[in-house]
């Protein structure tokens, strides 16, 4: 099909504004998926995505829509809607010419609405605003239109007014896609240039690249190669997503689809790379993307030390279609062997943990999340530190810098005071306050990322009853008075519990951890002191009293078997214990304390 009858687009929105519902509706109305096979949120095909109602991995779907007697190919490239996944959004956007911006008629412009609009503008995309949920009683169509015009500067006079849920106004959306979004340009006679915007592994076909063909064509039997290395592969299958994979004979300039070329190693089809024809190569690659930088780091350990290799395998597999996950071997005295993982953000971390536990049946202990600090040593050497255990001795440190973000918070005005207080408490520096309209305020703060990943988001949500939304971008590094907080159990430092914190926060945090540990560490044969320390200085102390519970251990005279079983069970439990010095601590205790510490 001629490229003038193709439209490649994304849908961008703040979380919960109805992106996935609209995607479902578009797919359904074009008959791409029969009503019988329709499941809610078709493109969210991970269990976690459906359950949480969020999109994590991008998906694509090709639809055919007849407009005024002409069939059009509409390629929808879905995007994640959470702040952690900005990187994935930009991957999708690079494969499109336009984007639908969904705004909830009852909520208006939210933090990620703006982020995503800016991302789309960065990619020179045409943006069509769509106002959703107009069927709800609290919809304020005119107010939201005005807000879009004032805050974003988009013309809303022809914005489709829809209810994706009720199927109202869907044809207007199709018309807008066809009439307002540009068709792809690109010469099909030129040498092949195709952008890999995602890849995943299929056990039968090998690594599969999801591509946008920018110039030229690709078909079965072609020899292709990537720009970053010189390996040549023979194409065994091309096709597109409906959203299931459907083979085709050829993919041409302007089209979106997939290529399978018996590639064994997913690393050979790196996202952002350009595919070209080995026999007729293009002179230069497409711009590609810069690699996503992990923002949050944490140690991930199997509860059962024997499952280290399972965890390793699982991480490798997840890494195949989540290139933003990074990991390297870490060993902890308390938790044994595991991995130091880098995540895009807290949600990303949670999702990975959940996928590891669910898809790979692993029980995990995850240490407190940390950011990457920049440490300048006395000798002038600058080293990144994302693991508290790697922090050099304070006497060797000249200064430490921590990442600072610019946080944008959108909120109804009545919560401004509460939020300012919260930001202050989290070492935030006030930058700006703007009334977007009578009901919405934008607050800008500069804040250490370290505070955001601790409990800021949860605190914000609970203090504003869920009304405030947050977005942030990394601004840079700033010098800060940071210290390592160590936890000593019976005098032995427990590496898995160490944290890097601001000196002023260290006391409260140390006290709280000691208190909590006292509750989760089972009583031992001897009294166990739990201390929080900075350097050599003890700042908090609690005591786990010595066990006495067998004081009158009952044994029913003749029934010895019962007692033996009880002891055997206790022995089994003992085997699963982790050791910190001479103290036995169950893995679950670590999990509890670490979880508690991060989400209050």
């Amino acid at each position: 099909m001629k490229s003038e009858f193709i439209r490649n687009f994304s849908i961008v929105a703040h979380i919960d504004h109805g992106k996935s519902t609209l995607a479902d509706r578009l797919i359904q109305n074009t008959g791409t998926v029969s009503v019988r096979d329709m499941e809610e949120q078709l493109l969210d095909n991970m269990d976690i995505e459906r359950e949480r109602g969020i999109t994590i991995k991008l998906q694509t779907c090709r639809m055919i829509y007849n407009f005024k007697g002409q069939d059009y190919i509409l390629n929808l490239i879905d995007t994640p809607g959470h702040v952690d996944f900005t990187y994935e959004v930009s991957r999708s956007l690079a494969a499109c010419e336009g984007a639908l911006l969904i705004v909830d008629a009852t909520q208006g412009v939210e933090a990620q609405t703006l982020t995503n609009v800016y991302l789309a503008l960065d990619h020179n995309l045409e943006i069509v605003p769509v106002i959703n949920k107009i069927d709800l009683a609290s919809a304020d169509i005119e107010g939201v239109k005005k807000e879009i015009e004032d805050v974003i500067g988009l013309d809303t006079s022809e914005a489709p007014l829809i209810s994706a849920k009720e199927g109202i106004g869907i044809d207007d959306v199709f018309e807008a896609i066809i009439t307002k979004l540009p068709a792809p340009k690109g010469n099909r006679e030129a040498p092949l240039k195709a952008l890999i915007f995602d890849s995943f592994y299929d056990s039968y076909k090998g690594a599969i690249s999801m591509i946008r063909v920018v110039e030229g064509t690709v078909k079965v039997g072609d020899h292709i190669k990537m720009y970053t290395h010189d390996k040549v592969f023979e194409v065994v299958e091309v096709g597109y997503f409906t959203p299931k994979m459907k083979p085709a004979t050829i993919l041409e300039a302007g089209e979106v689809g997939y290529v399978a070329a018996s590639i064994k190693n997913v690393g050979d089809t790196a996202v952002g790379d350009t595919i070209t024809n080995a026999d007729y190569p293009a002179k230069e690659p497409l711009p590609g993307y810069k690699k996503a930088q992990p923002m949050v780091y944490a140690g991930v350990f199997p509860s059962d030390g024997a499952r280290y290799n399972d965890l390793k395998e699982a991480l490798c597999k997840l890494n195949l279609n989540d290139a933003s996950l990074s990991f390297e071997v870490e060993s902890s005295l308390a938790l044994g062997f595991g991995f130091r993982c880098g995540f895009l953000g807290l949600l990303h971390m949670e999702i990975i943990e959940e996928r590891l536990e669910r898809e790979f049946d692993l029980d995990l202990v995850t240490t407190s999340p940390s950011v990457s600090y920049r440490v300048t040593k006395n000798n002038g050497e600058v080293i990144p530190v994302d693991n508290p255990m790697n922090l050099p001795d304070p006497s060797n440190i000249d200064f430490i810098e921590e990442p600072i973000v610019k946080a944008s918070i959108y909120t109804p005005p009545e919560y401004v005071g509460t939020i300012m207080e919260l930001c202050q408490e989290k070492r935030g520096i006030y930058i700006d306050l703007t009334y977007l309209d009578k009901t919405r305020v934008q607050l800008i703060y500069e804040m250490p990322l370290n505070e955001i990943i601790y409990d800021f988001f949860d605190a914000l949500k609970s203090k504003t009853r869920g009304y405030a939304s947050l977005d942030y971008e990394i601004k840079g590094y700033q010098r800060s008075d940071l210290v390592r907080l160590d936890i000593l159990i019976n005098g032995d430092a427990c590496d898995a519990l160490s944290l890097i914190v601001h000196r002023e926060k260290a006391y409260a945090r140390g006290r709280r951890m000691a208190e909590k540990l006292k509750d989760v560490i089972p009583r031992q044969m001897f009294e166990v002191p739990i201390q929080a320390a900075i350097g050599g200085k003890i700042i908090a102390r609690e005591t786990v009293k010595a066990m006495r519970k067998d004081v009158l251990a009952k044994c029913y005279g003749g029934d010895i078997t019962r007692k033996k079983k009880l002891l055997e069970k206790q022995k089994e439990g003992k085997k699963r214990m982790r050791r910190v010095g001479s103290v036995e601590v169950p893995s679950e205790a670590f999990a509890t304390i670490l979880k508690f510490d991060s989400d209050k």
Binding site: M547, V551, D559
Partner: protein
Amino acid sequence: MQIYVHIPFCKRKCNYCDFCSQTLGVEREYIDALIEEIKIQGQKYGDKVVDTIYFGGGTPSVLQEGMLKAIVNALELNFNLQTIERSIEGNPESLTINKLKEYRACGFDRVSMGVQSLDDNVLIKAGRLHNSKTAIEAINNAMEIFDNVSVDMMIGLPEQTMQSAVDTAQKLVVTGIKHISCYALILEDGTPLSKSVNDGVVKLPNEDDCADTFDEVMKILSSAGFLRYEVSNFAKCGFECRHNLGYWHRSEYLGLGAAAHSLIDNTRFCNVSNVNKYIESINVLQIKNNNFQIIKNELTNDEISFEKIMLGLRMTEGIPKSYFSGFEKQLETYSEYFVTNSNGNIALTKRGYEIMNTILCDFIKE
């Protein structure tokens, strides 16, 4: 050999109890079955000399007059009884003078009474049927007829304070009884009490409260001349319960009745625990042999050496050092919790008893 006879009936089941016991109803059928079992087992073990007999429950004192006699007669007929001790349990509310006399007439020489507490509030909360007054009366009655009277008391009961337990102990030691068992309440899954605790309706004293209370109770008992000879048992010199000591010494014993356990020839076995099933299976025994026994376990050498330690260490007299052969490492690890007695035996210290299970775990072989 020792014989244990289980009487699985109570007027009312206490709300913390998960023993095999039920309210009255099928005693007659049960006793018929029990006597049948006595005949069957007598054919097998009738030649062994029986030195102690223990009737436990449930509440043996709820049986109607005559029933007990029938059981004891059956034992006399089918086993080689040369007893030095015959114990029977009972509860204060059913231990009437007549009942006590009947016990005596059946040849029992030791009565063990489930008093648990002499604090009326605690007794009500535990779901006991007697009060402190009936308990003291029953103890006095028993003292008239028996020389050897034992009383059970408990710690860790709902709403039981240290003072309440101390009062109970003080009142008990002056009654003239010779033996006191002091048990800590263990919350067993599936009991009404466990539900109340989980629902937050009832709060139990915690680990430290129990241990402190026990320390205080022990002081009272020891100054009154009751010596701790086992984890939970205290006796005036010479009044240790021989039957119970037999368990810890791994003497052979035959359990008769529903849910009764036995140890013979280093094999442990036990009868079905459901009373009706027990009655039923004894009745069809002619057709299918021994189906009233459900668990049969021939002990391995490792299990035997572990049992010798696990059971033997319950006694303050301790066990010979030779029992620890192959366990030298554990003995070393926990050396601070062991003491060598004047007789050369190794025993647990008072502190050792407080963490006994934790120590014992390490003696289980892989």
